[in-house]
């Protein structure tokens, strides 16, 4: 634990030191909290960091995350990490290299995990309750074709699947799962007989896994009242499809089911349409994603936001998949969410986030309630409660034992 924490902190402060002297914009945020989980005796330590470095041709945001304990995990994730080469300053066309989601360059609103496009894109889910859509590692083109029309293109030779809490496969088939990991079945029912399962992960050639091409192209139109993005992209499926082969291993006195899992990332092609009506109430954004590889794969989302009084930006929306069924719970199981930050005073802010999956037999809810008091210019104290509930085998229901309450601090500079 100490090793990881020191690595994270060193990296974070190291970057800070370097960047602070070299870049136009350099912002940092470090949040530390102690969370007490309802079903655990010891609290866990959390560290969340965000370093934003931006200059004329370079931009990066480095997300750091750390959770202590045997169930904890950590990540250092620079996303975006982009170097632009402008070749038409007037038309604002540029080539970029690095890591980025092409659609994030078209307007200020990023692609979120609650968007339909985000739902089929690779994500970082190590902080499972706060997933982020990840950018591709490669090159891209942002070409202004006309006043408000931009051609987008991106290519990545390197595929990074969705990162999530590890299951911790051991050589003898035991699991040492991290918090918020989704556990595979523990036993198998073979005609009335329950057998324990031992898993064996066969990743195969890493090189073959990582070196997979990804293509993206699209047209973005940014009007005064309407913005429309139409895209097509081809990439391996971000979440693995486990190819399993099972055998019954008969030992002297016991029989176990030996399951070999070979994760597969089959190629997918998607056509997306994103439409935002700027002058409408709530400025709704509608997204439609249609699978070309499988016509029954469809996603749609509707999101909106508005500000009222001391509610600086209330965001809400719906996300759902249509057509194809899945045995496993998904974030897009008719997700409804609302985010309500409420600035009670200049120093006191009360934030609430509710995400709820409403699909029949998969209903669940995640409610984050956080209160932050800025007692100094760059420091604030945070108290939060996270509650999860839901039916068996629902998205948040799988984590319903992970209710927690925490206190901590935030430091920004």
């Amino acid at each position: 634990m100490g090793y990881f924490l020191s690595t994270v902190l060193s990296f974070f402060f190291g970057i800070s030191l370097v960047a602070s002297n070299s870049f136009a914009l350099f912002k940092n945020e470090l949040q530390t909290q102690f969370y007490q989980y309802a079903n655990e005796s010891q609290p866990s330590f959390y560290l969340n960091g965000l370093s934003q470095i931006q200059s004329q041709n370079f931009e990066t945001k480095i997300h750091t995350y750390y959770e202590s304990g045997t169930k904890g995990s950590w990540s250092i994730d620079p996303d975006p990490l982009r170097l632009d080469f402008k070749f038409n300053t007037e038309k604002k066309s540029f080539l970029w290299i690095g890591r980025e989601h092409p659609l994030n360059l078209t307007r200020s609103k990023k692609i979120e995990a609650t968007d339909a496009i985000g739902a089929v894109w690779t994500q970082n889910q190590l902080n499972a309750l706060n997933p982020r859509v990840s950018g591709w590692l490669g090159i891209g083109l942002h070409q202004n074709l006309a006043e408000n029309i931009t051609l987008l293109f991106a290519y990545s030779p390197l595929f990074i699947p969705t990162l999530g809490p590890s299951l911790g496969f051991s050589e003898n088939g035991d699991l040492h799962p991290k918090r918020y990991s989704r556990l595979p079945p523990a036993s198998v029912d073979t005609g009335g007989t329950l057998l324990p399962i031992r898993y064996q992960l066969e990743v195969g050639q890493i090189k073959e896994l990582l070196l997979q091409n990804q293509f993206f192209t699209g047209i973005a139109h940014e009007g005064k009242e309407l913005s429309v993005d139409a895209t097509f992209f081809s990439a391996p499926r971000p979440n693995a499809v486990p190819l399993t082969s099972a055998k019954l291993a008969v030992a002297q006195n016991a029989v176990t089911a030996k399951v070999e899992i070979e994760p597969q990332f089959p190629r997918e092609e998607w056509v997306t349409l994103r439409l935002q009506i700027k002058n409408a109430l709530f400025k709704p954004t509608i997204e439609w994603v249609q699978g070309v590889h499988d016509w029954s794969a469809q996603f749609a989302s509707l999101s909106g936001s508005y500000a009222f009084g001391s509610f600086s930006s209330i965001q809400f929306g719906l996300l759902s998949h249509m057509g194809d069924e899945s045995e496993d719970p998904r974030f897009s199981d008719l997700l409804a969410f609302i985010k309500m930050p409420w600035s009670i005073t200049d120093q006191l802010e009360f934030k609430n986030l509710i995400q709820s999956t409403l699909l029949n037999a998969r209903q669940s809810i995640y409610w984050l309630s956080e209160i932050e008091y800025s007692f100094m210019k760059n420091f604030s104290a945070i108290g939060s409660v996270r509650m999860l509930a839901g039916q068996n085998y629902s998205y948040f229901g799988d984590w319903r034992a992970e209710d927690s309450a925490g206190i901590g601090m935030r430091w920004t500079w």
Binding site: F308, G309, Q363
Partner: protein, 783 residues
């Protein structure tokens, strides 16, 4: 304002989300984690295994292919220590975990797994190659398996024949061979079979060790040194069964004829060819293979373990077998006895085939059951035995009847060949034992029935024929049987002349104590026994005797038998019925049958159904007297001054012997007076003349002057009715007198009261109409 509305809507949505979550969360803090999912193995649906026996080849093949794929895939999905193989311990582990489940009881399931492995000869476990071998065997034997299955399913529909039996045995042999060359001791075989016997058959389980010994004995005797005697060697036993079917396949037509599955009219050549080699097949099978004798004690042990009465009859029967088969002893039964049996069968079929006339074969009788075809051939024994005066409801002179008589004739011939020491064509000293054998054969059938009942956990009937007939002296029964066998067949005059010399010895119970039966007599004896059983069954099926079952025995009221006696006579013995009606039913049939019908045990008024046999036997004997003595078939027994042995002499002579024999056999009550009179009648001519008058009058009363010659020399003809009336008077004078005086008389047993005051006539005679007689002699007399 507008914004505040939307704000409220937002708050409302917020609250709605919270409220919704209450519906599916038990608590908001510290809820238990959901259980981990259980993966479900979905196997592809398999077709019904019965489709393997489908008529359509492609469906059967497809079914087998799918099962093959499933079995091999399942096997490939199980990993043991050794690749493509599972050891016995690993298979048992699968059994313990419930993956290989042959019973809901785990221990029983494991024993069944061991059993299957032992039967299939997989002592070290099972490999993929062995499974493929089994599947290939199923493919190669699909047709035989289908035949096996069809036969079992259609058994009730009577589709079973020899070729199907051969298929079954051949298939069984092929199946048994899968067990390989390992040999199993009796104990190992027992532990292999026992797990498959349901617990609800405890006697079957208990009898298994001795049952296996019995099976091994049977296989040993059957196969000789082709197998390892005393052990179960699957391959050798299977090979033996296969060899058995191949060797005996040519005998199939003969067996089919025995079980009436083949038409002798249309399959003559096949039958003759099969019969020609029939005996040699048995001889060559048994030759040079050292077939051991079958120890009869094995049967006794088997019976003892099942707690059923010791089959002493069977053992005493086997005392007799050495006389029929010198290679057998009282303790062991040589398989060469089957050669003896084969000769009996051969002669039987040969005689039967020869008896069928050429015109009959050309006739092509189209009845579905050839045994119902009219017999137009020639077989003397049939002509002698068949009597169209009685039992015509159950007996006609058709091919089935001839088939039956030829069997008895063949048995009789064999018995004579074996037992006739002086080669005079007669069995003399051993008649009693012969008769006992017949009775005990029936007991053996009851014993076999008891074995089956015990295994199926049904009540065991302890009755056997002889034990129930314990009131009848064996000696006396033999006498009756001997007389019947001499009396019943219609012997022509030349035969009578030859026989009479010996018959006079038979008739004279004082002088001679031994009896003689010729071939025809033995045949008759067997025939009569069978006839009595059929008459009894016909009566039980037709009339409601109101049977009661008490302690696994069926009882019927003696009074009910007496009530139904007129109907039984009317149906099966119309001449006797008509004569009794004419003469006075109670005075004739009433007295006679109430006398011959057994008395129940003290305190009871019920008899067992077989007691009806004595009534029928008496009727048969009465008819036979008429058949023998009524030479001109005019239903009258006349006197002839010129004939030293006229019809009445014949009746007197036979009747007195018959009555004496019936008394000796305890069928009739001992009457010293009657014995005395009979002796006097025989030896004093004047008394004989008086007897002749009495025959016609039907009574001894009031014949004093008529008895004196010359009046007595020319007495009028007697009828069967008058003879019966006189016989009744001898049997029970008190009863006869009471009936004559129309008063109540002696009532020894229940039902006796019916013979008085015309109660039978008033209440139990089916109308006043006479019974229809269909005999040729009667029809001729009417024309």
């Amino acid at each position: 304002m507008v914004k505040s509305i939307y704000f409220r809507i937002t708050i409302g949505l917020f609250c709605a989300s919270l409220i919704t979550s209450c519906g599916f969360s038990k608590s908001f803090w510290g809820e238990k984690a959901p259980p981990r999912k259980i993966a479900l193995v979905k196997s592809e649906p398999l077709p019904d295994l019965i489709d393997f026996f489908s008529e359509q080849d492609d469906i059967a093949k497809s079914t087998l292919a799918q099962y093959e794929k499933f079995i091999l895939k399942s096997f490939d999905q199980v990993e043991g220590k050794e690749k493509n193989k599972l050891s016995i311990e690993e298979l048992l582990t699968l059994g313990r975990t419930g993956l290989a489940k042959l019973s809901n009881d785990q221990e029983l399931s494991l024993r069944r797994i061991r059993s299957i492995l032992a039967v299939l000869g997989f002592k070290d476990g099972i490999s993929r190659e062995q499974i493929i071998g089994l599947i290939n065997w199923a493919k190669d034997n699909r047709k035989q398996a289908k035949s096996f299955y069809d036969t079992l399913i259609n058994y009730e529909q009577n589709e079973f024949n020899s070729s199907k039996l051969i298929d079954i045995i051949h298939f069984t042999g092929s199946l048994i061979k899968l067990g390989g060359t390992d040999r199993l001791s009796e104990e190992e075989l027992r532990s292999t079979i026992e797990p498959w016997i349901p617990q609800k058959f405890p006697h079957a389980i208990k009898a298994l060790p001795s049952g296996i010994t019995l099976i091994n004995e049977v296989f040993g005797s059957l196969c000789g040194d082709r197998i390892e005697i005393g052990y179960w060697n699957a391959k050798k036993n299977g090979d033996c069964l296969i060899a058995l079917t191949e060797h005996f396949s040519s005998t199939a037509p003969v067996f089919d004829l025995i079980f009436k599955k083949i038409n002798p009219l249309t399959k003559t050549e096949e039958l003759n060819e099969s019969n020609r080699t029939f005996v040699s097949k048995f001889e060559t099978w048994l030759k040079d293979h050292h077939h051991p004798a079958f120890k009869t004690k094995t049967v006794g042990d088997f019976a003892k373990q099942q707690e059923i009465p010791e089959p002493y009859h069977f053992f005493q029967l086997t005392e007799w077998i050495p006389k029929l088969n010198p290679e057998s002893t009282a303790e062991s039964f040589s398989p060469t006895f089957f050669i003896t049996l084969s000769k009996v069968v051969h002669n039987w079929i040969d005689t039967f085939q020869k008896s069928l006339s050429d015109s009959e074969k050309e006739q092509q009788c189209y009845k579905r059951d050839w045994s119902k075809c009219e017999f137009k051939g020639k077989f003397e024994t049939v002509d002698r035995l068949f009597n169209d005066e009685y039992a015509t409801l159950i007996r006609v002179k058709d091919m089935g009847f001839v088939f039956q008589i030829t069997l008895y004739d063949s048995i009789a011939h064999d018995l004579l060949t074996k037992l006739d020491q002086d080669q005079n064509g007669l069995l003399e000293d051993d008649i009693t034992d012969l008769i006992t054998i017949i009775i005990r054969l029936l007991d053996s059938n009851a014993f076999a029935q008891n074995v089956v009942n015990r295994i199926l956990e049904k009540p065991v009937t302890l009755k056997n024929t002889e034990a129930s007939m314990n009131n009848i002296k064996r000696h006396g029964l033999a006498e009756v049987a001997a007389l019947a066998s001499e009396l019943i067949p219609d012997r022509d005059s030349s035969q009578r002349t030859a026989i009479r010399q010996i018959s006079s010895q038979v008739y004279d119970t004082q002088k001679y104590h031994t009896y003689a039966l010729d071939r025809l007599g033995i045949t008759t004896f067997l025939y009569v026994f069978n006839l009595l059983m059929e008459l009894r069954q016909q009566a039980l099926d037709t009339y409601d005797f109101e049977p009661e079952s008490i302690a696994s025995t069926t009882w019927i009221k003696r009074k009910k038998i007496m009530e139904l006696m007129p109907r039984m006579l009317r149906a099966q013995f119309p001449r006797i019925y008509n004569e009794c009606i004419t003469q006075g039913f109670e005075r004739t049939c009433g007295v006679i049958y109430s006398e011959v019908l057994a008395s129940p045990e003290k305190g009871s008024d019920s008899l067992e159904p077989f007691e009806i046999d004595t009534m029928n036997l008496t009727s048969i004997l009465l008819e036979s007297i008429m058949n023998r003595c009524d030479r001109n078939k005019n239903d009258k027994i006349s006197t002839s001054a010129l004939d030293g042995f006229d019809e009445k002499d014949c009746v007197i002579s036979i009747s007195q012997t018959l009555v004496t024999r019936l008394m000796n056999a305890n069928i009739l009550d001992e009457e010293k007076k009657t014995r005395t009179i009979l002796k006097i009648v025989k030896w004093l001519p004047p008394v004989k003349w008086a007897a002749k008058v009495a025959l016609q009058r039907g009574t001894m009363n009031g014949i004093s002057w008529r008895a004196a010659p010359p009046f007595s020399l020319a007495s009028r003809p007697a009828t069967l009715g008058s003879i019966m009336s006189l016989a009744a008077e001898f049997m029970d004078p008190a009863k006869s007198e009471a009936i004559d005086n129309n008063t109540e008389g002696p009532q020894t047993d229940a039902g006796d009261e019916l013979i008085y005051m015309n109660r039978l006539t008033k209440n139990h005679i089916p109308g006043a109409k006479m019974a229809d007689r269909t005999s040729a002699a009667f029809k001729a007399s009417q024309e």
